[in-house]
Amino acid sequence: MQIVVDLNRCQSYAQCAFLAPQVFELHGEEALMYTPAVPDDQGERVRRAAAACPVQAILVGERAGARVR
C-alpha cells in the first residue's frame, strides 16, 4: 500500500496522526510528515485515517506502474 497526501489541501487537523501515528505525524506545529510506503501492519489504520481526514487529502492506493509491462 502506498499513500500520498495533497498538502495543499491538508489543514493540519491531525486526525491521521491520532489514528495512524506510525505513519503520520506533525512536524513542528502543523507540517505533516508521513511515510509514503505503508508498512503491512498499518494498512487498516491508514484506511481509517484516510476516511477520517476532514479535508479528504489522503490518497491510498497500490503503487502506480508497479506492474510495468
Partner: protein, 454 residues
C-alpha cells in the same frame, strides 16, 4: 462524446506526477485506445516533495516514495528511455533507443531537471550534488548518514532552504549562500524573506546573502571547500547546488513548437502553440514544463513548478484530449504550494510575485504565525500562511473573486499594524536560484526564427 476522440493512440512523454494523473484521467473519461507512457527515469512515477524532507531526515528511503495510483491505466510503459525528438508532421515521438512511437494525440509532461553547477570540473567533484530525482536524494541521504563536517547549500529558494533545514535538524553544520538579499525572497518578497533569514539564523544556519560562490575547491577529486565573492572561504565536504530548475524542452528543438528554456507555451486548454503562435490540436502540455495564460493574473503566461499544478493541469489536459471543442475546459486552478522548513509550515495560494504590496492580515512576523496577503493594483492576488494553514481557503476565495486589497480585517488574530508595504519582489535575475513561479509573458532573450528550411 464523439467516438473518435475516445479511440486512437495517445502518447504521454513524462512519467511523473503529471503524466500519471493524465493517464488515469484519460481512462476515467472513457479513452479506450492505446496509451503509452514514456519516462527517462527507470522508476515508476514517484512523489518528489518528500525527497527534500522525510528522505533527508532519514525517515523514509528514497526508493519508497512511489505514487499511489488512482486506478489502473492499462498502458504500455517505456521507462528508462528518454524521448529525443518529435516529428509533428509524421506524428511520431522518437526515443533514445531508436524506437518511433506514432500518436494521434500527444501529451508533453517532461518537467524540469536540476540546474547544474556551471563549472563542469567543479561539478564533477565528489561531494557536489543536486537534488531533483529519487537517485539524487538517495545519494545525498547516504552522504548525510556518513556525517559530513559541513554542508554548503548554494541557493536559498525552497529546495535549498528545505535541505538546510533537514541538515540542521540532524545536527550538521550548514552554510547557505544566496546571491539575493534573503532566502525565499524570489517567491515571497521582502517581508517574508527577512523572516526566513531570521529563522534560518536562529536555527544555526551560517546564512550568507548577497554573495555568490566563486569556486568550489577540490583535492584528489573530492570537494574540500568553497570561495565566496566577498573573499571569504569555508571548508565543506558536501555542496548541494540548489539553483533552480531547467525545463526539459531540448528534445522539442526541431518540433516547430513554442518550446524553449521557459517551457512549452500552451493555451488555457493545455493545447501547445507552435512556433508561429498558432494553436495545435493534437499536442497538449501539462506540469512544470508548461507555460499558460491565467485569467486571474491578467492572462500573464505562467510557468508553475508546483505539485498541485501538475495534478490539476494534467486533469484538464487529459479531459480536453478526449473531449470535442465545446466540452473542453480551461485550466483555471488558483496556484498553490507548500513548504515545511525550520519547524514552519509555509503555504501559498495565488501568485505572490504578481504583486506590488503586501500586508500582514493576521498574526505577526514576530510570532512566526501569520497570513501575509499580497495585492496588485488594489486587488488581492495571493496569500501566504506561516503556521496558519486553516485560513488560506478564505483568502483563496478573495483571490478568485478579485476582492479589494487590502482585505478587511479578519475576525480572528488581527494584526498589530495592518498597513500595506511594498511587496519587494526582486527580479529573478538577482537571485541564485531560478524562480519556481515564472511570469514568462515577455521573453526578451529569445527571438523567433520565422523560416527554417533544412
Amino acid at each position: 462524446m464523439s467516438g473518435e476522440r475516445r479511440d486512437g493512440r495517445i502518447v504521454i512523454v513524462g512519467a511523473s506526477l503529471a503524466g500519471l494523473r493524465a493517464a488515469e484521467t484519460l481512462r476515467e473519461e472513457g479513452f479506450g485506445g492505446t496509451l503509452t507512457l514514456v519516462g527517462d527515469e527507470p522508476r515508476p512515477p514517484y512523489d518528489r516533495p518528500p525527497l527534500s524532507k522525510q528522505v533527508l531526515l532519514g525517515r523514509v528511503r528514497a526508493q519508497d516514495v512511489g505514487l499511489p495510483g488512482r486506478r489502473d491505466v492499462d498502458a504500455r510503459w517505456r521507462l528508462g528511455v528518454a524521448a529525443v525528438g518529435l516529428d509533428p508532421i509524421g506524428k511520431q515521438v522518437l526515443l533514445a533507443d531508436g524506437e518511433r512511437l506514432p500518436f494521434d494525440r500527444l501529451l508533453i509532461a517532461t518537467g524540469t531537471r536540476a540546474r547544474p553547477w556551471p563549472n563542469p570540473e567543479e561539478a564533477a567533484l565528489d561531494g557536489v550534488m543536486t537534488l531533483r530525482t529519487a537517485d539524487d536524494a538517495a545519494r545525498l541521504a547516504e552522504r548525510l548518514d556518513a556525517g559530513p563536517r559541513r554542508v554548503l547549500v548554494i541557493g536559498a529558494g525552497f529546495t535549498g532552504s528545505e535541505i538546510a533545514s533537514a541538515c540542521r535538524e540532524r545536527g550538521f553544520e550548514v552554510t547557505v549562500a544566496e546571491r539575493g538579499p534573503s532566502p525565499l525572497v524570489g517567491a515571497l518578497g521582502g517581508a517574508l524573506g527577512a523572516l526566513a533569514a531570521t529563522v534560518q539564523r536562529a536555527h544555526g544556519v551560517d546564512l550568507r546573502c548577497g554573495v555568490t560562490v566563486t569556486s568550489l575547491r577540490g583535492r584528489d577529486g573530492r570537494l574540500i571547500g568553497a570561495e565566496f565573492s566577498d573573499g571569504s572561504r569555508i571548508e565543506a565536504d558536501i555542496a548541494v547546488v540548489a539553483l533552480g530548475a531547467v525545463r526539459n524542452t531540448e528534445w522539442l528543438a526541431d518540433a516547430g513548437l513554442a518550446a524553449g528554456p521557459r517551457g512549452v507555451a500552451c493555451d488555457a486548454g493545455c493545447r501547445a502553440f507552435n512556433m508561429y503562435g498558432i494553436v495545435t490540436d493534437d499536442v497538449f502540455v501539462a506540469g512544470d514544463v508548461a507555460r499558460f495564460p491565467h485569467p486571474l493574473f491578467e492572462y500573464q503566461i505562467l510557468a508553475l513548478e508546483h505539485w498541485g499544478n501538475a495534478v490539476a493541469q494534467a486533469e484538464v489536459a487529459a479531459h480536453n484530449m478526449v473531449s470535442p471543442g465545446p466540452c473542453r475546459r480551461p485550466h483555471l486552478t488558483v496556484p498553490a504550494f507548500w513548504s515545511s522548513q525550520f519547524g514552519l509550515n509555509i503555504k501559498s495560494v495565488g501568485v505572490p510575485t504578481f504583486s506590488d504590496q503586501v500586508v500582514v492580515a493576521q498574526g505577526s512576523l514576530r510570532e512566526r504565525r501569520l497570513v501575509a496577503v499580497y495585492g496588485y493594483r488594489g486587488r488581492v492576488t495571493a496569500a501566504v500562511g506561516v503556521n496558519r494553514a486553516k485560513w488560506l481557503g478564505y483568502y483563496q476565495g478573495l483571490i478568485e473573486t478579485a476582492a479589494p486589497f487590502p482585505p478587511r480585517p479578519g475576525a480572528a488574530d488581527p494584526p498589530a499594524s495592518g498597513v500595506p508595504v511594498p511587496s519587494d519582489v526582486p527580479s529573478p535575475q538577482t537571485l541564485s536560484h531560478g524562480p519556481t513561479v515564472a511570469l514568462t509573458g515577455h521573453v526578451p532573450d529569445r527571438r523567433l526564427t520565422l523560416v527554417r528550411h533544412d
